[in-house]
Amino acid sequence: MTTWDWQVFCKDTIDGQIVPGCFGGPGSVTYLDWLLSAWGWTLSVSALALLVALVLGLVMGVLRTTPHRGLVLLGEAWTELFRNIPLLVQIFLWYHVVPALFPPLRAVPSFILVVLGLGLFTSARISEQVRAGIQSLSGGQRMAGLAMGFTLPQTYRHVLLPMALRIIIPPLTSESMNIIKNSSVAFAVSISELTLFALQAQEETSRGIEVYLAVTGLYFISAFAINRAMLFVENRVRVPGMIGGGQ
């Protein structure tokens, strides 16, 4: 039905002329250059947001399993707050509403805001997985740790978390792949990432199918790379005889 025109990526973004070699030189940017830079933005947003999400999700998930009522409440409130508001709404809150209430936040670049927004949203989901992982262990583990004379933090560090975190690697893999895909909301706050590139480039070039296929391919490659990396981690840290360790 359509004829392919992959040359579209070799075109200059200003005059639409095909640039030999597809990469623009000084003062000239091709759609391929732009696509790669957009991919870079997608990966940067995702990687930093994942970092935020893992750290905060781990902390909040652990808090929810402690015997202290206050800490449990904090963890629960955090999780429910961030997972009950749609992601796009959260991003807009960070971008438009929060800076209106706290003017100094206006100076914060939208990149940081989107990393925080996406990171906090995902941290709520990771916190839920961490809690589930810890609670899947039998209660005797915790008691045994405490009976050995470990403090509560030591019990978590040496007894509970090493097992719980191994158990939750598969859902964490999904979550890490999700963050790549969810990073597309960053287009709404003007981060020049893959989705924004797709929306803008298909309009400028009228070659929507090629543009969307390329962007789809890059999303797939990014998410699949995470999948493979996590599988590698999963295999490396497997302990035979432990839950999830047999095969």
Binding site: I14, S110, S206
Partner: protein, 303 residues
């Protein structure tokens, strides 16, 4: 042989008394006649050209022109009733939806350019748009040269940013592109100070300014970045339908009716807030009405 001769005669006689349209009804006209309905692609917020009042109601200059054109087509096809459906479209999906038949006529703010003409056709130009810069009135910015190092907002999926880049290279100014996801969002970027300027079609800027909390805070400044013919979009390779729409538009242009409709949407207070856009028809727009044509944007640039 003996029998078929009178039948042929009878058929020929029957055809000669039918209206001229009937013999070759195909494409969109046939679809409209057969289904008794036409689907109009409309925009949620394209200034005075096409916008929503909520409740699935859509109005505007182009919407009214389309409604009149469809009424003329209904008359021509001799239909007692024509059900007009409204389908909101976006910059991104309007062309695919036209190609796959979801919409029959698009009445928004689509620039007629050579790239799009590969995929769709355009009726005669009804409005000529000038791409301009809106800034805060107290910003002191009066020309594109002063945008050096500033944040410049534009809407994702529009062509305005390309003109900016051209000027950026020519005038060796450097600025940050900030993309709003729609026109209202881009204007919010300007209003909240995240962007220093908003580059877009003049009537969209004027419309957003008119709707702002305090319209006096904003003004449209600087040189015209580009001139773009905006037209009603129809399916490609459907000359009969295009001719029907063009015919209706031409008669409105000839009678001066189109100027009255323009006045209604761009000079008089319009719903929902009863504000005026206050943008008189430009000379380029009047020229397009005086000599109807469907030339793409590239032909305007050559002048």
């Amino acid at each position: 042989m003996r029998r078929s001769f009178p039948i042929t005669l009878a058929l020929a006689g029957a055809f000669s008394v039918l209206p001229h349209l009937a013999h070759a009804l195909d494409g969109t006209l046939k679809k409209i006649k057969d289904s008794g309905a036409a689907t109009m692609g409309v925009r949620e917020s394209s200034g005075g050209l096409s916008f929503t009042l909520g409740d699935g109601k859509f109005v505007g200059f182009h919407v009214e022109l389309c409604e009149r054109a469809l009424a003329d087509i209904q008359k021509e096809l001799g239909m007692s009733k024509l059900d007009v459906k409204y389908q909101p479209v976006t910059s991104q999906n309007r062309i695919p939806l036209m190609q796959n038949g979801t919409i029959d006529i698009e009445c928004g703010s689509t620039t007629n350019n050579a790239a799009r003409q590969k995929d769709v056709s355009f009726a005669d130009t009804t409005y000529v748009e000038e791409v301009r810069i809106a800034v805060k009135a107290n910003s002191g910015i009066t020309s594109i040269g002063q945008l050096n190092g500033k944040n410049v907002a534009t809407t994702t999926g529009t062509t305005s940013v390309q003109h900016l880049r051209k000027h950026e290279r020519a005038a060796s100014v450097k600025f940050n592109e900030v993309f709003g996801k729609d026109h209202a969002d881009s204007f919010l970027l300007l209003e909240s100070g995240r962007a220093d300027a908003f580059v877009m079609d003049g009537q969209i800027l004027a419309g957003n300014i008119a709707k702002a909390k305090n319209p006096a805070d904003f003004k449209i400044v600087g040189e015209v970045l580009s001139v773009e013919p905006i037209a009603i979009m129809v399916r490609k390779d459907d000359p009969a339908f295009k001719a029907a729409v063009d015919g209706s538009l031409k008669s409105m242009m000839k009678s001066g009716e189109i100027a009255k409709i323009y006045d209604k949407w761009f000079m008089q207070p319009i719903p929902p807030t009863n504000t005026r856009i206050g943008l008189p028809a430009s000379d380029a727009t009047k020229a397009a009405w005086a000599s109807p044509n469907d030339k793409p944007m590239e032909d305007y640039a050559k002048k």
